[in-house]
Amino acid sequence: MNAIELLEQIGVVEPADPEVLDRTAEAVLAVAATEARHGEKATSENGAELFSMRRGVELVRASNSASNKRLRGNRSRGYWLTRVAAVVIVAGAAGGVSTLVQPGSPGGPSPAAAAVLRHLADVAAAQPTPSAPGPGQYLYVDSENAYTDSAFDQPPNGKGSYTVLLPQHRQIWIRPDGSGRLFETFGQPIFLSAQDHADWVAAGSPTISNSPSDDTFGPGGLSARNLSNLPTDPSALAALIASRKIEGGPPGSAEDFTQIGDLLRETDASPALRSALYQVAAGLPGVVDLGAVLDHSGRSGIGLAEVSHGEQFELIFDPQTSALIGEQDTVVGPGVQEPVGTVVGWATYIQSTVVDSTTSTGPGGSAVPLSPSATLAR
């Protein structure tokens, strides 16, 4: 049994006590019946009505158990496409470790990376502070990125497993309370190897869904971070990040680096905060300097990365402004099904600005009207 199967097994629980279910159904019915009485179809409030509804519940339940079985039957059939990144566990540990970069010594920061990060911190500190979103305003971020998706035939280790990169154009409008809009359009899937393409054809060339999505969100719907309370003193910020009080997570500098990325990505981190974040990163062991790199759209930048779990997670910064302009994830070690050197994810950040509405892209930018199919997601 593998670890995931074990986890699934732990999740198996005894069904609910029928008495608990009945009690809950009655509570829902009681509230619904109250609303029905106050609605247009006002009916009598006597006990007979409730009694007949109670009988109705039992009938619905009996007929529904059969339809539930049918639904579950459907779920377990056919071709299963996972929306999982390329992390299929390969039987047997691979041979020699091969990395694109030499990780810094575990004991302390890499001197080269630390120097670059301190320089970026100085650049950030010299940037003008843009105005934060005022009441009713949104932070708007426009980016292109791609994630890997893997699919496999049933049984999972049968033929037909393949991986694609799904590029997307992502536009997000977000308020500090987490309300806003997310509009994503997707490009054509990119097969990571000829074998992936052949396996997709062997699987019957199933459609890989890439229809656009356009959703608006109420407060709390999007993952918002209030960064204004964070200290801009590097020591205090480092301690706060390491304590995992900003974001939960395991201990270790690799996670510190991940969280620094999280605080830079689609946020309105001020120049002072960014400067502090770069200084915190400069103190992390394992961060490596990749020198001058190109992001996926061909812009040149400064690459800094951290390697964990066989992948190199790279942040790319604009040398002029020190802003995060891109990211790239590359396979550097065994355990990932793609060969070393395969790019398995990227992001390029095109624009980040404060706007007045969820259709605005800023001064001079063209409006992005809500799609006819746009809905309030939450």
């Binding site: 593998n2 670890a3 995931i4 074990l6 986890l7 097994q9 732990i10 629980v13 005894e14 069904p15 609910a16 006590d17 608990v20 279910l21 809950t24 829902v28 019915l29 019946a33 609303e35 029905a36 179809k41 109705g56 519940v57 619905v60 339809s67 071709y79 299963w80 996972t82 929306r83 999982v84 990144a85 992390v87 566990i89 039987a91 540990a93 990125n145 699919a151 999972p156 280790n157 997000i172 994503e184 459609t207 869904s209 999007l222 993952s223 209030n226 009080k245 974001e247 939960g248 997570g249 779990h309 066989g310 992948e311 355990g335 990932v336 994810g345 809905t375 309030l376 997601a377 939450r378």
Partner: protein
């Protein structure tokens, strides 16, 4: 073709609110199991009706594009759980970040029963709370990452990258094992 959940919710509008109870008979068990896995049976029994009353009150927000109501219901159940943990004195994360509080106690006790505790606990402990929540929605509730995104109110890409991270940890720790079977709807094929 059975009636989709979105049709049931649609029927339960102002003209026939009691139709909503059909949704309960479809998914009451699943929501109960969600709660049991995270907080134990006794609390689950107590919290179940709160989840469903909130769902009923919020049914106008149901997106008619969702043929399966479970991700939406799990999202509501999660909010009820967070409020419950807050009431029972669990520590809150200081920033206004909608991070899940830990379901660690209950997961811990469930691991005890398997004899594999040390091994799996060690791996789960290396995951962030957010990554673990995504992993558990996929393995326990059998959601697809796009359904996880609905349940947690996060973008699909975020759900996928969290799952990616969580599974990467498993890949690393269990390199001798064969595969990670993650299911999803045939309709996505």
């Amino acid at each position: 073709m059975p009636e989709g959940d979105e049709e049931v919710v649609g029927r339960s509008d102002a003209s026939a609110p009691t139709a909503f109870v059909e949704l309960f008979w479809r998914h009451g068990d699943a929501v109960h199991a969600y709660l049991v896995r995270r907080t134990g049976r006794q609390d689950a029994d107590d919290l179940l009706s709160e989840v469903w009353l909130r769902a009923f009150k919020g049914r106008a927000n149901y997106d008619p594009r969702w043929p399966d109501a479970r991700p939406w219901l799990y999202g509501i159940a999660r909010h009820v759980l967070l409020a419950h943990w807050r009431r029972s004195g669990r520590p809150l994360v200081p920033l206004a970040e909608p991070v899940a509080l830990d379901c660690w106690d209950e997961v811990d006790s469930r691991l005890d029963a398997t004899g594999e505790r040390a091994r799996l606990q060690r791996v789960l402990a290396t995951l962030s709370t957010d990554d673990r929540e995504v992993l558990l929605l996929v393995t326990w509730e059998q959601l697809t990452p796009s359904e996880v995104a609905v349940a947690l109110g996060i973008p699909q890409g975020t759900a996928r990258s969290r799952l990616h991270r969580a599974l990467s940890v498993f890949r690393r720790e269990f390199e001798d094992e064969s595969f990670v079977p993650v299911r999803c709807h045939p309709k996505e094929a």
